[in-house]
Amino acid sequence: MTLLLRRVRPEQVRELTLVFILVAVVAFFATQIPNYLAWQTFTDISTGLAIIAVAAVGQTLVVLTRNIDLSIGSVVGLVAYFVGTLLAGTPGMPAPAAFGIAIAMGGALGAVNGVIVAFGRVPAVVATLGTLAIYRVALVELSGAKTVTTDSLPAWLLNLPRMSVVSLGQLDVRPLVLLALAVVIVFQLVLSYLPYGRRLFAIGSNPDAARVAGLPVERDVFVAFLLSGALAGLAGFLFLVRFGNITVVAGQGLELQVVAAVVVGGVNIFGGSGSIVGALAGATLINVLQQSLIRWPAVSAFAQDAILGLLILLAVASDKVILGRLRTIWVQARRRDEERAAATAAEQATHGA
């Protein structure tokens, strides 16, 4: 008990409260929507979630450093369009090449943000609000009003979303989902166990102190933006795979969804605290709410948004309340534990005497 209390703090398992809320939400909708607890629902939601989750991982890295990347939606659209056009033009291009190009292109766009923010010292909101517009304009100009259409894309790409990597009975696990999961795990490990990850927290927590401590603040922030861009590029690739039809509005507004996921997932928007797993939990929660509402027969198409807004608010609020409660319980338990330990020590001392 002592060891557990010493080692595990409520903040460290804060994602659990989100999981708990998620379970409550799913349980509620299971009573409301026929056939809700079907594998099909899981497949539908998880595949859509994969795109948001990958982008949210990148956003988390940036937000941890007390910055924000609002250009994500435009990067996703631009990369999806560019890679789609490329594949349409050169149908023989191997899958890994397309995959690599998507990530590289996203990375390049992210690097532009990174240079402007980290080295140009432009506030991230301003910089990425600017590139949000600029990247979108680039897409409109680049596309010349041509859309990427499914039948111009190679078969392997179109088959990707239908493939199942693992099939357990009716449960199909799609490659997109596995990929997103892998990204989440890798970056969670990076944050927890690599010095770079810890530095991101330090920079966001106190940028001045980070500089004084000799941390390579500019470089680390730049890399965070680069990674965010690269992951948005990956999300763009997934977007292309999933939707096939890429118009100039592709990915529009995604940044807001991603920021919402990150914030609901408990990542402090002013930097310094949060986790990838939390961001994933946040993204899942919002997505499940959205997807469940449009499946709920009792609610008209016009009432969905009003309810969605309220539910997001309630989710964030209950998260805060539960977490606060947990913290109090933890503090009390720990105090009791310490008192007991002190008492034992005192007893031993008297016995020894």
């Binding site: 010493r6 810890r198 927590s205 001045d208 102190a209």
Partner: protein, 477 residues
């Protein structure tokens, strides 16, 4: 100025003399306009904090540079480059505990640094510097927040490092520190080098003369006052898990000192009386009438003011002008009928305090953040004096102030007492508490250990009580 291996070199100077700036140059945080830095006889350019680290220079800054969201252990090891590619949390915990142990401090190294007191932050900073293998260790007022006990531990370590050949540069405003430990003493004034002498050739008086450019009297002494009626009575004040059983009475014109080791929860008592972290048991009576204090507004209403020990984080709004800071708690008084701020009235009041407390600043429209520590503290005092409090709680009011400024603050405290204000003085500097207080309440780990009259209080007795070695500990909780 030269710093030799295996010496402890004290750097003295008034607030704003440029001591901190000098060390920031040495550690690459600030770039010099001119002059050179040599390490081992080689001229170097310290372009960044990283380069300083590579040269074996480590520093403890005056304002703790902690990462509030990281744990204590992570704070200590964040800039280490010698700890491999993968973070080993277990080893980090153990090492952190070991370093803190050397300092004689027990902290939960897994806890985020956010909740630490200034003193604890300072020890984390010291631990951070000690954990680096350094050749030059610079410490900017490391003892400012420490009580006598911790200071002794720290000096033990510093001496050990000297034995290992580390050069130590040490800044302090506490003369006794300097004479206890320094080998040589350098004095700065107005950003200029004045003198460097071996300690044996320095007396406190001569050092002060070098610092301020004139001779100064002895440590400040209170002038006697006749205490008035009881203003504040506290009975069995407690906050669960923090402190308990605090009881005392305080008369108008009386100064009650709160003494104790770091972490004795004196600050928490102050915060409870000011309504920031309200008490959950016990009674508070002001003018014999029971009052409930659940917010600073409540406290202000009954005439209780509190100056925080964390001047940097909680004391002043740095970008705002001195005048705006002074009137912040009482802004209503300076509003016109239409809710507009009457700048002239505001400036006049601030100007009054500027003169009365001799705040050195170009004008009252100067941003508070640009002042030196001592002057900032005076602005903080002005801000609360302007609320015309009955009870004034001063938490570490002289921390980081130079002898001159300190004397001025002591003077102010004395005047407060003469004006019939009841003062609670929380201070980790025992001589200060002894000199300034009419009575001294000693705390240890959230419990009230003893209350001494100034006549019966001695350094030894107070310290004994603070360390729990008093014959009859008043066990509460």
């Amino acid at each position: 100025m030269a710093l030799q291996a295996g010496e402890i070199h004290a750097l003295l100077g008034e607030n704003g003399a440029g001591k901190s700036t000098l060390i920031k140059i040495m550690t690459g945080v600030v770039q010099p306009d001119g002059g050179d830095v040599f390490v081992d006889g080689r001229q170097v350019r310290v372009g960044s904090a990283l380069e300083a680290q590579a040269l074996g220079i480590a520093a403890v800054y005056q304002e703790p540079m902690i990462f509030p969201d990281l744990s204590v252990a992570e704070n200590i090891f964040i800039s280490h480059r010698d700890r491999g590619r993968i973070v080993d949390r277990g080893a980090m915990r153990r090492d952190a505990e070991a370093v803190l142990d050397r300092l004689g401090v027990r902290l939960d190294v897994g806890e985020p640094a956010r909740g630490l007191t200034v003193a604890a932050q300072q020890t984390v900073e010291i631990a951070k510097a000690l954990s680096l293998r350094v050749r030059v260790l610079i410490m900017d007022e490391p003892t400012a927040s420490l009580s006598a006990h911790e200071v002794r531990r720290l000096f033990g370590i510093v001496k050990a490092l000297r034995g290992e050949g580390v050069a130590i540069l040490f800044i302090s405003h506490r003369m006794e520190d300097v004479f206890q430990i320094a080998d040589r003493v350098t004095v700065l004034r107005d950003g200029r080098w004045i003198s460097t002498r071996p300690r044996s050739e320095v007396t406190p008086a001569s050092a002060i003369r070098d610092m301020v450019g004139r001779t100064m009297g002895d440590f400040f002494r209170r002038t006697p006052t006749r205490p008035g009626d009881v203003v504040l009575e506290v009975r069995g004040l407690a906050r669960e898990g923090v402190f308990a059983g605090v009881s005392f009475t305080l008369r108008a014109g009386e100064v009650l000192g709160l003494a104790g080791l770091v972490g004795a929860r004196r600050t928490d008592v102050g915060l409870a009386l000011f309504g920031i972290a309200p008490a959950d048991a016990g009674e508070v009576l002001v003018d014999s009438r029971p009052v409930t204090i659940r917010s600073p507004q409540d406290a202000l209403r009954v005439g209780i003011a509190y100056t925080t020990e964390d001047r940097r984080q909680l004391g002043l709004v740095f970008p705002l002008s001195i005048a705006a800071n002074v009137t912040l708690p009482t802004l209503r008084r300076y509003l016109s009928r239409f809710g507009l701020v009457r700048r002239a009235a505001e400036d006049a009041v601030a100007q009054g305090f500027k003169e009365r407390l001799s705040i050195r600043a170009p004008s009252v429209r100067t941003a508070a953040g640009s002042l030196s520590g001592g002057n900032q503290q005076k602005v903080v005092l002005s801000k609360w004096l302007n609320t015309r409090p009955r009870v004034f709680i001063l938490d570490e009011p002289t921390r980081g102030l130079d002898v001159g400024a300190k004397a001025e603050v002591h003077q102010i405290i004395d005047e407060l007492a003469h004006d019939g204000i009841a003062v609670i003085l929380i201070s980790s500097e025992l001589p200060e508490v002894l000199a300034m207080s009419d009575r001294i309440l000693v705390m240890r780990e959230g419990r009230q250990m003893a209350v001494f009259d100034s006549a019966e209080a001695t350094q030894e007795r107070v310290l004994a009580a603070a360390m729990g070695q008093l014959a009859t500990p008043a066990v509460v909780v």
